[in-house]
Amino acid sequence: MTEDTDHDGRVWLGTPAFPEAARTALADTRLRHNLRHATTTIRTKRLDATGEVPHWEELREAGAAIKRRTARHLATYLEQLEASVTAAGGTVHWAADATDANRIVARLVRAAGGPDTERHEVVKVKSMATQEIGLNEALAAAGITAYETDLAELIVQLGEDRPSHILVPAIHRNRAEIREIFAERMGEWGRAAPDDLTDDPKALAEAARLHLREKFLTTRVAISGANFAAADTGTIAVVESEGNGRMCLTLPETLITVMGIEKVVPTFTDLEVFLQLLPRSSTGERMNPYTSLWTGVTPGDGPQDFHLILLDNGRTDVLKDTVGRQALACIRCSACLNVCPVYERTGGHAYGSVYPGPIGAVLTPQLAGVRRAASLPFASTLCGACYEACPVKIDIPEILVHLRAKAVEAKRDGRALPTPEALAMKAAATVLDSPGLLAVAQRAGAAGGRLLGGRGGRIRRLPGPLAGWSATRDTPAPPRESFRTWWRAHREER
């Protein structure tokens, strides 16, 4: 399967390329303010929570190693997981792509509802995998209503919006906007918001609690993602804060869990690493309020019908790339987003993918095909803060540069004529690989600089693709005497 075949329905939402999408976001002052506040807050909390663990680096090392072991022997662990879950009374399904997964879910929901059910409904725990495959839209098309139950996902769903952060999907919304969304839209989906709803977060959370409680008590099918799945025992983990996860995992009769194949870990014991890494990196807490672990079906407690869907949807393409495959180690903590200077200014929507931020910039081009998301690997200053923050030590800058090379190669292969950028790079390489030519260029540059500029040796405006740079920055005019000229005059000829 080559890189570019049949990636439809995968991950990529097809927004404009990053630079254009970012321009829109940058102009939104409210968004900028919300983002700055949020990322600054979480950054501080994360540093406190990780800083107090004396063996934090060893934990990161172990987390990375467990993920490396899993990736290199993924088939073994997936088959083991399948056997464990089946032995524990669950049913395992395999989905090659989004279409496949969505069909399986729709079929299971209809079967669970029974033949005489008129309205099919499901409650959902926040799950990036189901966003990635567009499950809610696919279910709607099949006549099934999906209710998101995570507070932020509810805000996003009611606001007909898209999530913009892995951990805090409505990070781009402030309390006033949320109050408005609840007041206007809740009634269309179920219990309306109280008439006197204020924008106090407590009141907003209470409105969500009342709105969703009825759904939890009556809905027969729940859909979840999975944070981890232990191959040896068949135990699945969902890590959450609000209790909506517990509601979905406990009350309905049928539970359908959609899990990317990379989420498997070898053993139950391995969870001891990730249950330390994830909450501290993600919310900056020592432990999140609720973590649920379940194994198949437990008679008399929770759903008696449990289905696990193992989803590929491009993950095996990522696995194929020996440099890029480390991105599959991601535990979706979002630490990389919160430290990223780019994300902090643009927010998540600019990335045009359910996976925003630095991890999105390396995951999306691999899942969707690098041609399709060619601008994303370039949406980074390569500052390296993400790598430092990543609890499983994904070297995001390394993958970014690797994918940039792939994007350039893809452009080379697909065209009769080189791009202007490629021509410029070629020319620059020729000059830079020849001290003689470099000296000529320096003299020409000094002359050109004087033409372009610059009172006080400053060039105010540059031509062509450099115009964006010079719109906000002065550029020093090349001095008459380069260093090598000075050296020759003052050291070699002394």
């Binding site: 088939a75 517990r246 590929d312």
Partner: protein, 233 residues
């Protein structure tokens, strides 16, 4: 519904066996760079993180860490549990509370709240309408202030500690372990496990933490310590 095979309901499904073999084949192809004789154990996993220095005062640490989540911790001697439980229920105005099978009856001798059993299992509506739930725990983690329930005696099924608005959990000092690895080592993987660290919470709105979303709004922990020389936190 055990096979995962197609049920013919949606004719356009690709046969499940196809997807299974297709995904597994792709996985194997993708890692063709891995030597065929390499075993998982050949990929080293350094476990040097297992060096948690056991805190001197595990009980004190646990109490402090639970309190950090804005839950209430009350220490008491074994003979004072019943009185403490009664006082807490009174303080929270919990008149009707669910008591799971196997909850120590001696803890209930002082309260005059209505005690509701879960046999036969209560309906979800009934459960959602009571004021609170009493449970014990199976293990607790000092470093993170976490309580783990495994549906064993005194804990009941998972919904009991979820639907009512108030959860009172009795933890014995000897159940507290220093850290997460130690806790997992003591757990039985095949039981449903719920890790609870404070009341339910969200920070989804402007990152301002709000306690009490879908799970209980209030968590009280009664910490039973044989020697209660330490003051209440």
């Amino acid at each position: 519904m055990r096979s995962g095979g197609t049920d013919g309901g949606a004719g356009e499904d690709r046969p499940a066996t196809d997807s299974r073999s297709a995904v597994l084949a792709r996985v194997r192809t993708a890692v063709s760079d891995v030597p065929s004789d390499e075993t998982p154990d050949d990929v080293p996993v350094p476990r040097t993180y297992r060096r948690t220095v056991a805190p001197g005062d595990t009980v004190g640490l646990f109490a402090a860490r639970v309190a950090d989540y804005r839950a209430t911790v009350v220490r008491c001697a074994p003979e004072d549990v019943a009185g403490t439980v009664a006082a807490l229920l009174e303080r929270r105005g919990a008149r009707r509370v669910v008591v799971p099978e196997g909850f120590p009856p001696e803890f209930l001798t002082r309260t005059d709240a209505d005690l509701v059993g879960d046999r036969p299992p209560l309906s979800v509506r009934r459960l959602a309408s009571v004021d609170g739930t009493l449970t014990t725990a199976t293990v607790a983690v000092a470093e993170t202030g976490t309580i783990v329930l495994d549906t064993g005696p005194g804990q009941g099924r998972r919904a009991l500690s979820l639907l009512p608005d108030y959860h009172l959990c009795v933890v014995r000092a000897e159940q507290i372990v220093p850290d997460v690895p130690e806790a997992l080592a003591r757990l039985e993987p095949h039981r449903p496990l719920t890790f609870i660290s404070g009341p339910s919470a969200t920070s989804d709105i402007e990152l301002q933490r709000v306690e009490g979303v879908h799970g209980p709004r209030t968590l009280d922990v009664v910490l039973v310590v044989a020697d209660t020389s330490g003051a209440n936190p």
